[in-house]
Amino acid sequence: MSDFSRVKIEQIRRAFGRQPVLAGIDAELRSGELTVLMGPNGAGKSTLFGLLSTLSRPTSGRILYGNRDHRYAAIHLRHRIGLLSHGLLLYGELTCLENLIFFAKIYRMEDPLGVASQWLEAVGMTYAAHRPVRELSRGMGQRVALARALMPDPKLLLLDEPFTGLDQAATGLLRRFLSLARDSNKIVVVVTHDVEAVSGLVDRLLILDRGHIALDQAVDRPPATQLLEHYRGTVG
């Protein structure tokens, strides 16, 4: 069984050579919670995302997805993890539809064409279905990348600066998906400094500073100003 209702980070340490990036952090991410991960540049946010997505391995410590240790069960967990990162993670030579069909097939989803078409419609990109991804603007590409990340119906959703390059309509679309993901009991983690974009959505605020957790606090979907106050109060 690959389902899980929480992700537990236990004493995770990650170093590149002798340089520690994460210095033994502990945290717990829960179903139905939207966690915003903030921190200054170099705090270790992307490194933590790499570890949570199973793309890289910690130097020491472990991450538990439910009761499963990622070191021994990564392949069984991967289809339950969705990642939207800095890069689009899409093939430029393939069209939007072909990209989604390819990933639907790789994820062994039933009716790949149907699923891909539905997701293109859901992110408002049906009109560009047959355009190669390399011809899309950043915002359009980000919508298709969002569809790629959400299409396998992941339990853990990791979004690294997802609002970059999005216009107002696309930001509204992404906020809607974040709400839907949380309401359907997914574990959502968003790295962002765009506090306006996540205003009224956040259940937990996690602030990293120089490889340590500077703040791990449950919040009640506060407005942007309060999020900013928390951040400034923690890292200055």
Partner: protein, 253 residues
Amino acid sequence: MAPLDKRLPVDAEEIVWPKSKRREVGALGAMAQVWQVVVKDSVVEWRSREIVYTVGLLGVLMVVIFSFAFVQEGGTVPHVVGGLLWVVLVFSGTIGLGRVFDRERESNTISALLLAPVSRGALYLGKLIGVMLFMMLTEAIVVPVLILLFKVQISDYGVFLALLFFGTLGFAAVGSLFAATLMRSNSRQILLGVLTYPIIMPVVSAGAKGTTALLMDPPLVAGAMIWLKLIIAFDLLFLILSMWTFGPLVSSE
């Protein structure tokens, strides 16, 4: 239902989360995933024609330049042709190999593949078969030009094609492993050759020796068969080791 490209962007409030079902991967599923990676790489190459054209052109140019230097009245010596063929294949193959993996690096699609529920072995096989296809297409361009310009007579095309196929497999098996490992390295173009060539030396030298044996007058088919068996043995070794090490090497960023 309106045609796909006639519909307009949706309003955020109207969105519902599309549902989907997933099948278990299993052994057949893993083969299907290998096939999907091969098809995807082939479509990407078909759209750009980057690897086959550039690598094919490079290979032909190398053969033409060598022909000016080595072809005399009445042809050339078999030892030269056997060696040249494999030098051309390995050098042009290295360029193509690097490009196949550069594509995955440029938009970080390798992360999307590594994040998918695909075993590392299936991913490796998919990339390997893709590399093999591109290299064999290039060989289909380069080898006839070499035969024509060097005026060589090949006595046994079956053994010759087998030497090419298994030699290419050995090169692609090791090359794909190192190309994937070096994807994030800034010096990958240099390091790919430096790391790959010493390891594939037995395959390349056996390929050259086997080809030379077939070009001799009279041809030494039995001798070529011995070299072919040696290449197949190395291929097996390389394939097993590469499938075993691919996962840890590509995951250890």
